[in-house]
């Protein structure tokens, strides 16, 4: 793919129509420096202009019954997984897709495959997922806007004809969040992450080949101003970003922000003495998918044995070292954005200066935490013990296998953990269980020995996407009029 004539060029997709920009971004292989693709860059005005046709995206989808759209999504899932699909101005097999995605995001190839499987699972099970998220609502009611259900009139109004999305580059698994949108008869406006143009494009092509109308999907790669334009011109937007991004849009009902997860494992006083039984669960929650996901655990909290837990996790994870992305044993993803890994390493070093904060992994690593390569960097797994929940380090989270093991009395835990996307609380204590159920700083709650990374797709993730896109409202019409329909 280093040949200019055969290299993939990803155009902008303006409601399914390719548009080649005069500005392109080049995406390179993180290890070899090979040019992998050129990506057309949108200008912000293009989005504002195209959004005038956003209504049409929903209209073309409403012409197709939800059941048929669900069948199309199932087919799209199979195509995404197995077919040779258009990739920019060329084509791409599933294996090529995996290699390309790994090459530009730094994710090992077997993790890319795992994420493909995850997306395929979501598309294959969309009907069950949507039934669950709508509590069994007849999808026809969403299409028509109203309808009788169990003798009660139900009415739902779409908050937007399209959902805008500003997507990240780091973890392709997050694309699962937007897959239920098409059968909800809402159009897609995607701004891919700069290093990950692959999934949005391939998924769009799979949708098109499965019969989804082209006018329902737009893809606008570009710089930050393009993300801002998506936010400004789509009535509902789902974005991914840092804590600062989360804070910026906090309280904005039009924007659903997916930021760092700060997901945690909480060991109850009744179970903590048997912590060794849960070591696999803890290690998996921290390290799977190279710790990149918001559902990866970044904190293990317990009232005692924390030093032993940290020691055991460090012994397990500390020796993990970078391997080539094609190696099936590769457990670490590369950092492909210059300076990012170095910044993380410095931040950790600064955090370690605080009294009561100690790195446990160093002695098991046999080398530096930061591994600098010619064109990319790695950060090796790091486990930190925090003597108190009040240390600044206790609330750190990074995009690699990193966790703090925090000593904290059980009765203070829920007040001290801060915002937590997934909490896996290992306890049978009824009182603690009740407090966990009431804790509003926890989004997804697992009670029992469940890894933080084990998602049940039939349940909402950071708020139900259906509630975000539709609002329930009152609707009445005279009985006679209803009888004619």
């Amino acid at each position: 793919m280093d040949d200019k004539d055969t290299m993939i060029h990803f155009p902008i997709l303006r409601w399914g129509e390719p548009y080649k920009s005069l500005e392109v971004d080049k995406v390179y292989h993180h290890a070899t420096g090979e040019l992998m693709a050129e990506v057309s860059q949108a200008n912000a005005g293009l989005i504002e202009r195209d959004m005038r046709q956003a209504k049409r995206a929903r209209e073309v989808l409403r012409e197709i019954p939800c059941k048929e759209l669900l069948a199309m999504c199932r087919k799209a899932g199979d195509l995404f997984m197995t077919a040779t699909l258009p990739a920019g101005d060329g084509t791409q097999t599933p294996d090529e897709f995996v290699r390309c995605q790994s090459a530009t995001t730094g994710l090992p190839e077997h993790m890319s495959r795992m994420n493909m499987t995850k997306l395929h699972y979501v598309l294959s099970n969309l009907e069950a997922i949507l039934s669950s998220l709508t509590r069994g609502l007849d999808f026809e009611i969403l299409t028509r806007g109203y309808g009788m259900e169990n003798g009660v009139m139900r009415s739902y109004q779409a908050n937007t004809p399209v959902l805008g999305m500003v997507l990240p580059s780091n973890s392709p698994g997050v694309h699962g969040l937007w897959l239920p949108i098409i059968p909800l008869q809402i159009g897609l406006v995607l701004k891919p992450g700069p290093q990950e143009p692959w999934t949005p494009w391939r998924m769009a092509q799979a949708f098109f080949q499965a019969g989804v109308p082209k006018q329902a999907i737009a893809i606008y790669p570009g710089a930050a101003e393009v993300g801002a334009a998506v936010l400004a011109h789509c009535p509902r937007t789902l974005i991914f970003g840092s804590t600062a991004t989360v804070e910026r849009y906090h309280g904005n009902p039009n924007v659903q922000v997916h930021g760092p997860g700060f997901s945690k494992i909480l060991l109850g006083d009744d179970e903590v003495d048997q912590w060794e039984k849960h070591l696999d669960l803890m290690a998996t929650s921290i390290a799977i998918n190279s710790g990149r996901g918001c559902i990866n655990c970044s904190g293990v909290w317990a009232s005692r044995h924390t030093k032993e837990i940290a020691e055991a996790l460090a012994k397990r994870l500390g020796p993990i070292a970078p391997l080539p992305p094609s190696d099936p044993k590769a457990a670490l993803a590369a950092f492909t954005v210059k300076g990012q890994a170095e910044g993380i390493d410095k931040d950790i070093e600064a955090a370690l200066k605080e009294p009561g904060v100690e790195e446990v992994t160093a002695k098991y690593r046999g080398g530096e935490r930061l591994v600098k390569m010619e064109r990319c960097d790695y950060v090796r797994p790091t486990i930190i013990h925090c003597e108190s929940p009040d240390t600044a380090a206790a609330k750190k989270e990074y995009m690699f296998p990193f966790a703090t093991v925090v000593k904290c009395p059980q009765d203070q835990m829920l007040a001290k953990i801060g915002p937590t996307l997934v909490a896996s609380a290992i306890t049978k204590d009824e009182k603690f269980r009740r407090a966990l159920l009431d804790a509003r700083n926890i989004d997804r709650l697992n009670v029992g020995a469940i890894p933080t990374v084990q998602l049940n797709w039939l349940q909402p993730h950071e708020g139900s996407i259906v509630d975000f896109l539709y609002r329930a409202r009152a609707f009445q019409e005279p009985a006679a009029a209803a009888g004619t329909r």
Partner: protein, 369 residues
Amino acid sequence: MTNNAPASPDAVCKAAEQLDAHVRETIQWHFSPETGAPFWLDWAKKAGWDPRKEIKGFADLVRFGHFEDEWLRGGPVRRWVPKGLAQKPVFVFETGGTTGIPKSRIVIDDFRIDYEMLSETLPDSHFPKGANWLMLGPSGPRRLRLAVEHLCQHRGGVCFCLDLDPRWVIKVIKRGAMAELKLYQEHVIDQAMTILSAGHDIKCMFVTPKLLDALANRLESGGSSIRKAGITGVFCGGTEMTTQWARFAVEELLGPEVYLAACYGNTLMGLARARTLEAKEGYKILYHAPQPRAVIQLADLNDPEKLVTEVGKTGRVMLTTLTKEFFVPRFFERDEAELEPPCVQFPWNGVSGVRPFREFAATTTVGVY
């Protein structure tokens, strides 16, 4: 032969000789005790050498090192006024200023001269003489607002202006108040719509890229367009302009009947003129400085003391201003660009692809305008 055809070696040589002569004349003016500005006379005294004796041509300006724009912060402003022009009325134009003391530059007639020279490049077919203008850009203590008004008056028209405070916009962006930003942009576009609807027969306008996007969309959402509103010529500048944006503007916002003219300039340098934007040249935006009054060079990205001489190579923009009002030797701009060859119309190097310098790009805030 078209104006964009390559310049002959003779023309390039002649332009260089003219530049050298202009440099000698400018140095004489700025460093003579009778005519020079207190700032430069003081500078020469401290430097311990007499530029009037030692500067023989443009290449010798390297002896001045690089102009530091921090020198422009704060007063007394009169130290920049050449004694030879002390009796003339003086304008002061500012840049930045969102926080702290802004940089300021004194001007007497330069902005008028720059824009009168620019006026010669605007086609009368689309910027008719006598036509009224809309100035849809920043107001306040900025050169652009007065300069565009002068351009319009110089061509016999009346210029309608509006209120746009870029310092407020940057504050709004910095605190992440995007809804407020949108409201402010709407407020600016409301003013433009009011002027356009008031029967003033406006045919030309100055506008920044973002505001052209916003105005075109507002007009089209009401069933009109830039062309239907009566505009035939759009003069665009003020912020970064990419080739993709230029193509988008020509193909989708303006249409074939409206002429898009681009400019690149700032308060320090003056105004660089762009060659005509053409689809067949990929809407490449290519600027040439108004030599000999100002010169654009590119410095090597890794070695700022080394000049880029190879056409197509990228470098950081370095400006030199050589007017009787203001002398700015070898000032590093916050932009980078590619070097372009001399052409018949401008027999000296130009630049294309102007964009924020990579080291500053992440911290540059571009607002609603």
